[in-house]
């Protein structure tokens, strides 16, 4: 593996689908020119770590860049790997013709406008409450057989609607990694508020999985970027000391 020490992105990777500088690979992946599923992010990471070990010093900015790109790739990959509901394919949706696609986008815009009008009418309509109690009980004797037209399937359908748990909040649009970084940020702020100074190792002691450690590290970088913590490391792969900055401590 040849390495150019001018920048972390220049380190070369050797993969079945690509060999060359990592920065180029990252661009190709982000532009969807290479399928992210054909790339082992772990192998790329190993390459980066080997490069970093050879490097004379650990450059935090370069490391951040690598982690950010790595996170994007993981996110892309997660997006590709997660099962999705069987959507109609793109060609179906666009009808195959750009003109038709354009006409449909106009149609959808019209429906969205109308939907606003429907929302207003629903809002007005929701202020009227109809009576569902049926005839008062003095008329109950007139219809002895209330079950006449009721079927078991009908009951099941009604029960399913009544008993269905409230829908889960749809998180599909949230980037999973970022959401977790926010949590990790909170955790790190809480810990450091009491500890003030800690080893990174201590801050991730309760992490069960590597992804959690990665996410805590990202959170730490975020705090560093905002000047809330200072980081120091004795040497490559040495212990990372995390210190709450004075400004932050005063808050």
């Amino acid at each position: 593996m040849t390495e150019d020490r001018t920048g972390v992105g220049e380190f070369a990777v050797e993969l079945p689908v690509f060999s060359g500088p990592f920065r180029l690979l990252a661009e190709l992946l982000l532009e969807h020119r290479i399928d992210v599923c054909d790339v082992s992010v772990a192998a790329v990471t190993d390459g980066f770590l080997a490069h970093a070990a050879d490097a004379e010093r650990w450059d935090l900015e370069e490391a951040t860049w690598f982690v950010a790109v790595g996170a994007s790739l993981l996110e892309l990959k997660v997006g590709r790997l997660m099962p999705k509901a069987a959507d109609p394919d793109e060609e179906d949706l666009l009808g195959g013709s750009p003109d038709l696609a354009y006409a449909r986008s106009l149609e959808l815009a019209a429906f969205r406008t109308v939907a606003l009008d429907l929302a207003r009418r629903f809002e007005d309509g929701s202020r009227y409450f109809a009576r569902e109690a049926g005839p008062p009980e003095e008329f109950a004797h007139l219809y002895p057989d209330v079950m006449e037209n009721v079927t078991a399937d009908q009951l099941a359908a009604v029960a399913a609607v009544a008993l269905r748990p409230p829908p889960l909040v749809d998180l599909s649009h949230v980037q999973p990694v970022r959401a977790t970084v926010e949590e990790a940020l909170e955790t790190m702020r809480d810990r450091l508020a009491s500890l003030r100074t800690a080893w990174f190792r201590e801050l991730v002691a309760d992490c069960d999985e590597r992804i959690h450690v990665v996410v805590r590290f990202l959170a730490l970088l975020e705090m560093y970027r905002e000047g809330h913590v200072e980081l120091s490391q004795a040497g490559t792969f040495g212990e990372i000391e995390v210190r709450l900055t004075a400004a932050n401590g005063a808050a």
Partner: protein
Amino acid sequence: MDDIALRQALEALLFVSDEPLSAGSLAQAVEVDRRTVESTLQAMTDDYETRSSGLALRNVAGGWRLSTHPDAAPFVEQFVLSNRHARLTKAGLETLAIVAYKQPVTRHQVAAIRGVNSDGVLRALTDRGLVSEVGREEGPGRPVLYGTSPEFLERLGLPSLAALPPLAPLLGAASGEDA
């Protein structure tokens, strides 16, 4: 709240309720003192009568209840008899479905699921012999537990409760994207 707004609120509440409402609970709902509510209800009773309304307000055992006026009873009877497709009200069907699938279940649990007080509906279903008291729950107040009756199964032509259509496939089909 002025008298007109008070009457409006009381009439609306009595209209949607499927059982008698006490003056106390109505007073609480409209946030007006009970005495005022009672005298207003009395005045409303007379009003329905004098303006020959199709409705009648009555102070019965459990409280105040809006009902059809006796003069209109022949039409209502005929209508009820001819209206063959809607014997069990929506409320009745929903309550019966909940009892069937959640039994044994308390009044309170049914109300929590439906989002409305369901005492009247449960009583009507009990009167019909479709639902029955099957025991009491352990714990404070020992509330009555309801379940479906053998007659319920018979009417549906089912050998046992186990023969009710499974709910899981219907529940499982719910998607993350809701309307």
